[in-house]
């Protein structure tokens, strides 16, 4: 169990938004995805770009059987603002390089405050 830090008021990060916080010298992105909170390091594994400052959106997916193109995971994919690597916020997975996975942090909401465990 890591240390717990009170990082923000829940109302400061409404549904579908995210915010960068600094805890013990680390910058971390806190995301509100469909009402639950997730956190990722604000450092892209590529060239250490400020990953969590990127846009949160969806992505394109092609069904291999029908070969149809779909828009999926709306509101769940963060794209690094520097060169565009995409990450699945809830899991930290990199979409381009499946072996790359960001660490994730637990965020809990107590009495309207967001508590980050690092």
């Amino acid at each position: 169990m890591g240390r717990i830090f009170d990082v923000a008021a829940a109302q400061d990060i409404p549904l579908g938004t995210h915010k960068i916080v600094t805890v013990k010298g680390r910058t971390i992105g806190i995301f509100n995805i469909k009402g639950s909170y997730h956190a990722l390091p604000n450092i892209c594994p590529h060239q250490i770009g400020p990953l969590c400052e990127g846009k949160v959106s969806g992505t394109l997916y092609r069904d291999k059987k029908t070969w149809e193109l779909h828009w999926t995971e709306e509101g769940e994919i963060v794209t690094c603002p520097w060169h565009g690597l995409e990450f699945r916020v809830q899991t930290g997975e990199c979409l381009a390089y499946k072996q790359v996975k960001l660490r994730t942090y637990n965020v809990t909401q107590i009495d309207g405050r967001l508590l980050l465990e690092i």
Partner: protein, 378 residues
């Protein structure tokens, strides 16, 4: 018997030799009315790989100098067998000469008729007619449905070991969905496909841009590899290796040093733009490393060890195949591999073993038909 001389130790498969099919050769195999078109050009004066109505070179606007290298042709299976033996080659894979330019014909039905005639002629006169002579079906890109029918017609022929997909002067790059019937048929038949280019100055991209250059030096330098690069890019962009995972593909006649370049460039682009090629399950280099490559015209770096480095960069030890391009002016002798800085084991693979695996044949040239045995898709 095959004379091995100094190459005693090596079993050599040559992934690219050319026979000189002429209009007269194809006349008996060509359907009407197209046979009439061939008969009409029999007496037309010819140049090397430059026959009106049969091998449209689009190069009549440059000076023709005397001298220079020989323009040789292979006209009979006996001649080919003899020359291959002289070169120390055990098995050779046959491509056409004049119909290297088939993709430049604007008329779909004519191109398809020529491909049908060539395939019938190849099977009847060349493939397996002498020891170690194997053939590739010619697919006319203008008529993919007919090309798929040709694959189905000849897929069980013992002398046929793959499908040649022309890239020289090709108007619509391989990978466009109009070509799906060809890829489907080849995959289902367990036959590999080989992309082979040629220099021409027609209006198809990227050949149209060759007008920028004044000399054959410049036009010939990059035409083949650029054409292969653009076709490879299109194949990856449209997911051909994902859609046809059991289809083996080879790129030939562009040398090999462009392969690491493409591998690294496409991976770099993929990082930024993965979502435009969402069908790729892995970065592009993964697919590039699974394609096969013919060596000719092989790079001859000052430091022979550099060749081994190039091959290492695309992990090509098991996917690189010796190709001579005999009897064309820029052909490579097997010595180019033997004298390179490659290890003996890698030389053995490149000179023969990789091609045996790719074409799925044994040392007698007998088709292994591993695909049928595995029952994939059949």
């Amino acid at each position: 018997m095959i004379k091995k001389g100094q190459y005693e130790d090596f079993f050599i498969v040559d992934a690219d030799v050319h026979i000189n099919e002429t209009p007269e050769d194809l006349i008996p195999y060509c359907d009407l009315p197209w046979r009439k078109a061939l008969e009409a050009i029999v007496n037309v004066p010819r140049r090397y790989l430059n026959i009106p109505g049969f091998a449209p070179q689009f190069s009549g606007n440059r000076p023709f100098w005397p001298g220079g290298f020989d323009k040789k042709t292979v006209n009979t299976p006996d001649q080919l067998r003899e020359e291959l033996t002289e070169l120390g080659i055990d098995i050779a894979i046959i491509f056409p000469d004049n119909l290297l330019l088939i993709a430049t014909f604007p008329q779909r039905e004519y191109a398809a008729a020529l491909a049908r005639a060539y395939n019938a002629y190849l099977v009847d006169q060349w493939a397996d007619k002498r020891e170690g002579l194997k053939g590739l079906l010619l697919a006319a890109p203008q008529d993919p449905v007919d090309a798929a029918r040709e694959i189905n017609k000849y897929k069980d022929e013992e002398g046929i070991v793959g499908v040649y997909l022309p890239c020289g002067g090709l108007h619509t790059l391989w990978g466009h969905e109009m070509y799906n019937p060809i890829f489907e048929a080849a995959e289902a038949a367990g036959l590999p496909v080989i992309f082979h280019s040629v220099l021409t100055l027609n209006t198809a991209f990227p050949f149209n841009g060759l007008e920028q250059f004044e000399t054959e030096f410049a036009r010939h330098a990059l035409a083949h590899s650029m054409s292969l690069m653009f076709n490879m890019l299109r194949l990856i962009e449209t997911g051909v290796p994902v859609r046809y995972p059991n289809l083996k593909m080879c790129f030939i006649e562009g040398g090999i040093s462009w392969v690491p370049y493409m591998s690294m460039r496409l991976d770099k682009e993929y990082m930024e733009r993965r979502r435009y090629v969402q069908h790729l399950e892995k970065p592009p280099s993964h697919y590039i490393k699974n394609f096969y490559y013919g060596t000719q015209p092989i790079e001859e770096p000052e430091n022979p060890g550099d060749l081994a480095k190039v091959i290492e960069l695309y992990e090509g030890e098991n996917t690189t195949m010796f190709a001579s391009d005999w009897p064309h002016h820029d052909f490579d002798h097997p010595r180019a591999i033997l004298n390179s800085g490659l290890s003996k084991e890698v030389k053995r693979k490149i000179l023969g073993e990789n091609a045996l695996a790719f074409f799925d044949i044994d040392r007698q040239g007998k088709r292994m038909r591993s695909h049928d045995k595995k029952g994939i898709l059949s």
